[in-house]
Amino acid sequence: MTPIISVEHLSKTYKISHQNNRPDSFREVVGSYLKFNRLKKKAPEFETFYALNDVSFEIQEGEVLGIIGSNGAGKSTLLKILSRITEPTSGRVCLNGRVASLLEVGTGFHPELTGRENIFLNGSILGMEHSEIRKKFDEIVDFSGVERFLDTPVKRYSSGMYVRLAFSVAAHLEPEILLVDEVLAVGDIRFQKKCLQKMKDVSQTGRTVLFVSHNLTAIRTLCTSCLWVGQGQIQFNGKTSECIEKYIASNSKSSSNSYWENPESAFKEDRVRVARVKASRDEDGIVKNDFFTMNSPITIQIKVETKQSLHFRATLHFLIKSGEIAFTSYGQPEREQDEKSPAGSYEFTCTVPADLLNEEIYSIRLIIFEDWIHELVVLEDVISLDVRDTTTRELGAWQGREPGPLHPKLNWEVKSQ
């Protein structure tokens, strides 16, 4: 079967000028000619920036392809080339179907025109024919839920109404290939849900969807396969879950391992020193420490050496981004009442259970206390845990991060009466 989209060695470069020597006004152009090359021409300080660099892939009909990558990785450039807004510098693309691109909701909406007029305007801009719009007009209006304001200029709409109307027009496009860029970023949860449902419907009728988003949960829910673009190149192309995992691992902000070989650098207090703090997750018997997930336990190991007998314990503070403490926990050597632990090496192992943490970067503060009150060692941000959500949610569900510093799984029982 021939692929519906095939991209071969696609590159797109932009020239970035460092000295701002590219004339922005016609006056400067004329001016530069009038200088008669008195000085030898300076070598132009251009840097070629590869927005896309030798990208090749194929998409089969009916596939829903997610495209992920950090900002500036080239995702949007790719969509812009596919939708013919800009042309590639080299390489080629073959498209075997009508393309509609939705890079923005409400492109071309005119504030002075009424909702009704804007439906026709926006529809044509997105490539629908007049007769097609007329046929679907009622459906579009129904979907948007703004019937009452159809003859009001859209400048008087609330931003929610505006987006809903704009999206309903876009949702009624019927291309063979639909390119969507980050439309989930706008709108509330109801809108987001409608949006995803519609994309699902589109793909179920055998059409092909390319979906750029930073919302990995939505990508996971929706996409059959996934493309990770980074630094203008394809980093990975394949199964969605695998692709997302690789992507997360690459940009994880975890630093899960801290150790000190040189004793002096580790602590000022000479009775105790922290040799190592390390976090890892155990997934199907494989120990990983690149990033952490909400639904697998995390093991934190702390190695402490003491030089004299002490009455001490290790306390962990889990801090969220705002600097607040989400929770604390401590552990201490086993001992009798009031008995001091002898000098030596101790290893603390703390297990943070699965289904407790939220999607968050936790910064860990380690404190070694003596006799409950004296802080012998305080290590700020000794490790940090980048915890990600890798669960797949059902389509109708909220696809974003849940609020709150923690997201524990609690027992719920519901009886119908």
């Binding site: 042309e87 390489g91 693309v93």
Partner: protein, 284 residues
Amino acid sequence: MKQPTLIIEAGRSEKNYWLDLWRYRELFLILAWRDISVRYKQTFVGVSWALLQPFLQIVVFTLVFSWLLNTPSEGDAPYAIMAFAAMLPWQFFATALTNSSQSVVGSSNLISKVYFPRLIVPCASMVVCLIDFLIASLIFGLLALWYQFLPDWRILTLPFFLLVAFLAALGPGLLIAAMNVRYRDFRYVLPFIIQFGLYASAVPISLSLIREKLLALPYGEHLYQLYCLNPMVGVIDGFRWALLGGESQLYWPGFCISLAAILIMLWVGIHFFRKTERTFADII
């Protein structure tokens, strides 16, 4: 409606560009309709502006040129009618040129988000000027009534000269529109061209008077033909011929020279526009 394979490649001049243009004709109509309906939404201001501007200018011209300076008219038509017959295409040309040259920069949000043949934008922006032209024509009608002046059959040729005026504005319009994308200061050139062009195209003066003066010089005939390189000279000559009727004459060699200049400008405009339109989205 299965579409044939579309290939996107660097520098590929799309073979079906003109076909695409045809396919997007509805977008052209919609964009033109948008401009018109936005302009006339606040109806009173929109319409009265289109009426008032040329009318006041004619009043001034009549006072200065006819009453004060005794400038002769063309044939047997009253001076105000003669001036207005030139003001009609000139006003159309000036607004069409201004609109089209601002159009591409003005719709940067569309250009950076959707594909369509970019040529649609400047063309559609000129349509609203046609409506202004029709309204100004009404004033011409009233003025003709006032002077009890009746045009003859030649008025039927007016659409042809209007088309020529449209093309005359389109060529430089496309050129400036494309230049404007890169060099934003280009728009400052425009008011100057329009201000100067009003006199350079002999809107308040009879062309036969200019011709008479030039013919008195050596190589007068050629000098006048050189003058006809100004596209609007041919258009205005044509408009006067069509509207004033009677004794007014159309100088055909001059008209052909103007027409040739218009077509050359059009060719240059379209080529430049098409050559640069692929990069619009990158630099706009």
